[in-house]
Symmetry: C2
DNA sequence: GGTAGACTGCAACTCGTTTGCAATATGAAT
DNA sequence: ATTCATATTGCAAACGAGTTGCAGTCTACC
């Protein structure tokens, strides 16, 4: 689904479920649609055109978008939550997460074949009575900027 | 690696890198080795035999164990951080995460074949100059306890 | 345009995590 | 065993992401 369509689809979904289309909601949605990486609430807030919108409203908007399953959470490694458009509204993808700087990038496509996925889902369904709704693959490592002159597993923190 | 060996290996690693083997460290390690699911700092603290150990020491121990790459973080969906033994010290596995109650269970084995993994690693190495160190597959859905009479995408929060 | 009530901004609050500091315990040397 | 330098701890205060109550505002619908 392309950005324009995602936007339309989500606003329609909002109206359909009886939610009002307010300025904060429209703008948060615009920011999410425009970004090709997951964003934290603070980042979304920073990118809003109207800076008088409160951070609390960003959180509240994210909350309703999550209820509508238009947005999902994908955490960084031990950092704040990050949000992105959920699967029907964006192409299925996974994430490259930098261990060092916490940066997250999208990774187009999915190395898990349909066949394998179905087998896994069936297996956990039977053995654990767990119903898989979505899957998320996180490739964790070192991004281009961080992967220089760092032979040891050194980190930033004191 | 079995629990006893993991314990020995990690304590050896601590000594080897010049860290002292103190009561808090030994006990936090014991708790981690004994658990077959990732634990939050508070949960680890609750399970320590000597309850006079401070929560701050649990965090500090986790910090050094992470530096040694003996422990890794795996977040719940929008909840607190959870910690578990890292790959060399525990069998390679992934997680079942319940969308609803946040519960995390281990999922033995890995549906990603060596061949596929290598191809993916090569691909992101070339196209993004990203070096993959580890991967994490999260199967997100509904656990046995939560998957009853919840046709709508309803959640807990108000 | 007028109206009910959904929604926002604000500010105070919660709670997971971090940190400064004085007191304590560890590992190595004696 | 005893001593010693200092790495490590407990405590309490601080920090920061995320949440919430409330009075005022704006949306959707008439």
């Amino acid at each position: 689904m392309n950005p324009r369509d995602s936007r339309t689809a989500v606003t329609a979904l909002l109206a359909d479920r009886g939610y009002r289309l307010t300025a904060p909601r429209r703008q948060v949605l615009d920011v999410l649609v425009a970004s090709r990486t997951p964003l934290s609430a603070a980042e979304i807030h920073r990118r809003l055109e109207n800076r008088r919108i409160n951070l609390a409203s960003v959180y509240r908007t994210i909350y309703v978008l999550r209820r509508l399953e238009a947005v999902r959470v994908t955490d960084a490694i031990g950092a704040e939550q990050r949000f992105e458009l959920a699967d029907p509204f964006s192409a299925h993808h996974h994430h490259l997460i930098c261990q060092d700087c916490g940066r997250i990038d999208d990774f187009e496509g999915c190395p898990l074949e349909e066949r394998v996925l179905r087998a896994v889902n069936r297996r956990v369904r039977r053995s654990r009575r767990f119903r898989v709704v979505q899957h998320e693959l996180r490739l964790i490592g070192a991004c281009a900027d961080c992967d220089r002159g760092r032979p040891d597993g050194a980190e930033r923190r004191p």
